[in-house]
Point group: none
Chain length 299, copies 2
């Protein structure tokens, strides 16, 4: 009946990897060390190699074992999500407000802030334009721009919202299979996921300005969501905004002490827009959203 590795055995290996001893695993899972030992033996047979080897402080994973554990982690998360499946006014604003924002920050912070505002002011209509761009030097047709990086424009007011970080991330599966570099020079031996350089307005977001070595292969996308998905699926090391991946088990930091780039996010509005109560409310809502979720931005 089994042509794929047994997922239960993989989950047991995962617990062994976490706890290091069969007895501890047996206790945690409510069974005996004998069963644990046998299940690991069975899994080694399915996979055609040893997943564990002895070390002074208990069992350690072989390379094959690490790949298996990565798969187990993914399965565990899937099961956890399925298990979790079984369990939210008065100064009425109205009219239309148009905001331009980058796609990742837009979906993660701007949309929730605007929804919260709109729910308090149901007559307020909202238009979000997603584009990862520099601040416009001319009239842009929007009431407010949310931009990354420097925001030098003389005819508008810039309001600091937050800093976030670009860091290097890979998936646990990728790390387990190909290993991770120990220096920044080693990054060149890996696939790299980033923005499409030729279509990028904010060059701080791209690979080229990072001064990292040329990668072995590249996966470039104009959408940060596609980049995140590519890293999750093991395309390689990606230069990603921390708030999109921090705390998620599908991503591990890479060379976290050696490379990171802090980028500011600004709200930029012209004086005439700032006279609008609507726009002021949006700015307040954005500030509130980043304030309430600053741990995510600093993660």
């Amino acid at each position: 009946m089994r042509r794929l590795p047994n997922p239960d055995d993989l989950l047991i290996l995962l617990t062994v990897a976490r706890l290091g001893r069969f007895n501890a695993v047996a206790e945690t899972l409510g069974t005996t060390h004998t069963t644990i030992s046998r299940r690991i033996l069975a899994l080694d047979k399915q996979l055609g190699g040893r997943t564990l080897e002895r070390s002074p402080h208990g069992w350690e994973l072989t390379e094959l074992g690490a790949s298996a554990v990565a798969a187990a982690e993914a399965i565990e998360e899937t099961l956890g999500s399925l298990a979790g499946l079984i369990g939210e006014d008065q100064n009425a604003l109205s009219g239309l407000v148009r905001i331009s924002t980058s796609d990742g920050f837009g979906a993660e912070f701007v949309a929730p802030a605007l929804v919260r505002l709109q729910r308090r002011h149901p007559l307020l209509n909202v238009e979000m334009l997603s584009a990862t761009r520099k601040v416009s030097q001319n009239r842009s047709g929007v009431d407010l721009e949310v931009v990354v990086g420097r925001a030098d424009v003389s005819s508008a007011q810039t309001i600091f919202l937050a800093n976030y970080f670009l860091r290097l991330y890979a998936s646990p599966g990728y790390a387990a299979e190909l290993g991770l570099p120990e220096t920044l020079d080693g990054v060149g031996q890996h696939g790299f996921v980033s923005y499409v350089e030729s279509a990028l307005q904010v060059e701080e977001l791209g690979h080229r300005s990072s001064q990292l070595p040329m990668p072995k292969s590249s996966f470039q996308a104009t959408s940060i969501f596609a980049q995140v998905e590519a890293v999750r699926r093991g395309a390689g090391i990606g230069l990603l905004p921390n708030f999109m991946v921090a705390g998620k088990p599908d991503f591990v930091p890479v060379l976290a002490h050696d490379f990171q780039r802090q980028l500011p996010i600004w709200a930029v509005a012209r004086p005439e827009s700032l006279r609008s109560e609507r726009v002021q409310a949006v700015i307040a809502a954005l500030k509130e959203e980043v304030h309430q979720r600053q741990e995510l931005l600093a993660a």
Copy 2:
């Protein structure tokens, strides 16, 4: 020993969902219908509800069943990747392939397909351009376009990939607080989340062409991810692609029997692109991805 749903039982449910009959499943998995029946019964107990119900053409998934199948698919893929890791192959593709695709379908289907391909062919470089647009009438600078809706262009070949559905969805919190409409006319009493009409190339994706009544308030975004997030956060009823929200607990269908719009997705390439082994491999990878995940597209 089990506090999470049994992954083996989930994989059996997945096969039932695909084949529709216990006997067929038993034959495929090398066991008996009796065992299949019992395992489904056991799974229903673990999940606290029925996963399958009878229909004229075999078993059909309940809503709970659909969630379970989604989890099973993720597990199957994880296991498949692990199994594939243990036995490699080598018809090495290399060079750059550039694909244009819409942002939602791009992140959900195209990026995973391309990552899978790139992992088999590490020398293959990938560029994804996200834009929700009509097929280009001229040379677009990409090897392959993935487009929504009609794909009438005389100088290129169109390859059908899949159909998906635009449906109305709201968040459970929104539904509980404000109720949901009982007719399509009632939709006008609610907030509506959709694309920005003035910036939309494929008008079938927008509110205007839906002929639904003008909403009380609107939340429009150029990014489908921002739209999804806005609906999740309770902005109102959204016209969303089923594959982005089906089976997720943050979204409930609205007037599912009264409104839906089926849209085709095509891969479009010029003859000279089609002569490229790379592009052919990408097309095959895309077909495989949508084939393996057709339940999500039909959900």
